[in-house]
Subunit: 319 residues, 2 copies
């Protein structure tokens, strides 16, 4: 099968030519869409490389899911409603079974999220998956990193460190007790927080998704907003298995492990308890600290109000 | 340098935060753009892999240029005006000199085409470049593959086979005489036919860019439009060096070589000579045949009106 036949057989059938504001889908030199007049378009792109972003032996279903989830999470962090996706797939060989499993998971998750595949390509190269995602939000209502103000409270969704704990267990299974099934799923199948992202549109002053680790990602908010922050280590919602580890290791995984794809956001001073409860009813949220005026400085407050120092701040390529 | 610093240093400086309908550029979880009310959005993605789409030793400046050109050519084929671009760069190592040369060429060509880099990522993997491009066109005016009608004339821009000839010379320099400088540039630095694509919006019934070879790409038009075609081999505008080759080899390179990034388009019966001359004044165009009712069948007419048969129909992955 050549690349055109692969696309026809595995990816094309689930994408109707016209759905809402999709004018032309897969099969021309470009897709054509229209954006509603009162909306702005959000565009993001992420690549996952085998051996770097996921273990080489990861099941094709999980690779497809995660590649979509990572990109959907960017839409969640912007408060966007995801609409269209492009896929560039690099494959070392034409493996029909792999493609069938990958595309079936990709198509299923796309459909669940009302996301339509509009294009892309397939090339012969070491395994990697590049996805470009497009979402929409009412004009001027997208969440950004640069709006955090002094006195704002800092929140995260869910629990932190589950994905990093599961990953450590996968790469060195003897050093750690088995992760819970939920923790393993958090690594393999992170849930993009689309619904809470959309709810935050008219409430949060800034938002980011936690892909590289809380410290690294919160620092992006501080830099973009030109503020500082103080977070209480005792307020961090640690993943269950972390509570069996020694304290320093638990803090390292929860704050720098990354891959959780929870949201970190700021709410202005004086936001009502009722509103926080509304967020909580969509998905649990936890207040972990406050924005302050210490430009770009993030203080982690430990026992007895001592500043705690960690070495590793998050995963980065080319370090 | 980590990936954030690479983006800051090499790619970010040339992209103002707000330019026309760009609301937010590089540096958040997604870029934000607005699309003019009367316009539709064209979206296309292409990956170039080292060793497959360009020789491993290709200069970084040429890789950057070609990756952009290939994507701009998709916009030309749709009659779109290019606006925004995302770049996903896979690099085997952090090579500052390579990055400086790549980004300088990328930034220069983007600026020339009024194209703004709005996002992407950099990962550590074997060298490949994935670009997603966005363009705009008046609603309903984009060029597509599916509008060719019986009796339409088939045209191509420029000359065919130059890129394939230059490539053959690069990979086996002893078998062919040196290509002309223009032919070498056609392979390394193909010129996207943006201006003629925009001009064709209100004239052409179908359009495609010649990336895989005329036969393969024209077949896409025939399939999408549910028509057939007859082209005269004597009307093909062969690249200069092909005229030194034996006839079969010249035909093979011109019709199946690919990589020319010229446009192939159809004009309705009765289009005025004046209009064709207008096109010709932007860039030379040549009529090479006609659309007929033989569903999906492409006849190549040789000497004495005999049907000519070629084996290879175009470059495909996974064949």
């Amino acid at each position: 099968m050549n690349e055109f036949e692969i696309i026809e057989q595995y990816f094309k059938q689930v994408h109707p030519q016209s759905q809402g504001d999709l004018v032309l889908g897969i099969g021309d030199d470009a897709a054509i869409v229209t954006v509603p007049e009162d909306s702005e378009l959000l565009i993001s792109m992420d690549t996952l490389v085998a051996g770097t972003h996921f273990p080489l032996e990861t099941a094709p279903e999980d690779i497809a899911y995660k590649a979509l989830a990572v990109n959907l999470s960017d839409m969640a962090a912007m408060g966007a409603f995801p609409r269209w996706v492009s896929l560039s797939l690099a494959l070392p060989e034409n493996d029909a079974d792999w493609l069938k499993r990958f595309s079936s998971s990709f198509n299923q998750f796309s459909n669940e999220e009302s996301l339509v595949l509009i294009g892309g390509d397939i090339t012969r190269a070491p395994l990697s998956v590049t996805i470009q995602i497009h979402g929409i939000a009412p004009k001027g209502k997208s969440l950004r990193r640069d709006g955090a103000g002094i006195g704002d409270s800092i929140y995260v969704t869910g629990k932190l460190g589950a994905a990093a704990y599961a990953y450590q267990n996968i790469i060195s299974s003897n050093s750690f007790p088995s992760p819970t099934e939920e923790e393993l799923q958090r690594f393999l199948r992170p849930e993009p927080r689309i619904e809470i992202g959309i709810k935050l549109r008219s409430i949060a002053t800034s938002c980011i998704d936690i892909s590289d680790g809380l410290v690294s990602d919160l620092n992006h908010i501080l830099k973009a907003s030109e503020v500082g922050a103080e977070i209480q280590l005792s307020s961090i919602p640690y993943a269950d298995s972390l509570q069996k580890l020694d304290k320093d290791k638990a803090i390292e995984l929860a704050l720098t492990g990354g891959d959780d794809y929870e949201l970190c956001f700021t709410l202005p001073d004086g936001v009502s308890e009722e509103l926080v409860n509304e967020l909580h009813s969509i998905y649990p949220v936890h207040c972990i600290g406050k924005i302050n005026k210490n430009n770009f400085k993030l203080d982690l407050m430990g026992d007895n109000d001592q500043i705690y120092t960690i070495q590793k701040t998050g995963y980065r390529h080319f370090n």
